[in-house]
Symmetry: C2
Subunit: 83 residues, 2 copies
């Protein structure tokens, strides 16, 4: 069994209203040192696979097909073996 | 300037309908090897600070006050210095 930690972020040129809202709220709370906030998604996926390479390949396909929107988002992931 | 990478995840005992929906969609797409999906948030925050310890302390406070709901969510973060 493998655990994939998937990070999906908006591409740098894409406007991020959620991040801007969080930034505004942090400023309101007195955190004036905050210069920018970008919001993204974090997914923890447990999956079976014969080898780590095979599981990694599966996660890559899942990201391309469903988890990330390739037009506006980037993704990266890390894998580790779990019991 | 520092970059904080903040991961906010639901506590393990909390029901995660978003994760279950993603898991269902992955199964429908033919990824039957997926055993579980947990959805969380990922934030990239750029902030000023005199030292990394000070910036880290600020991020800790931001997480407690706004970014994570301590009743149902856990958070962790990594810091790195950027130009």
């Amino acid at each position: 069994m493998y655990l994939a930690m998937v990070y999906v972020t908006l591409k740098p040129t894409v406007n991020d209203p959620q991040g801007l809202t969080i930034q505004g709220a942090l400023h309101t709370l007195g955190f004036g040192s905050v210069k920018s906030v970008r919001a993204g998604k974090y997914l923890e996926i447990k999956l079976d696979g014969k080898t780590q390479a095979e599981a990694s390949d599966t996660v890559q396909k899942m990201c391309r097909q469903l988890l990330a929107n390739p037009v506006i988002e980037n993704f990266r992931f890390e894998m580790e073996e779990i019991k």
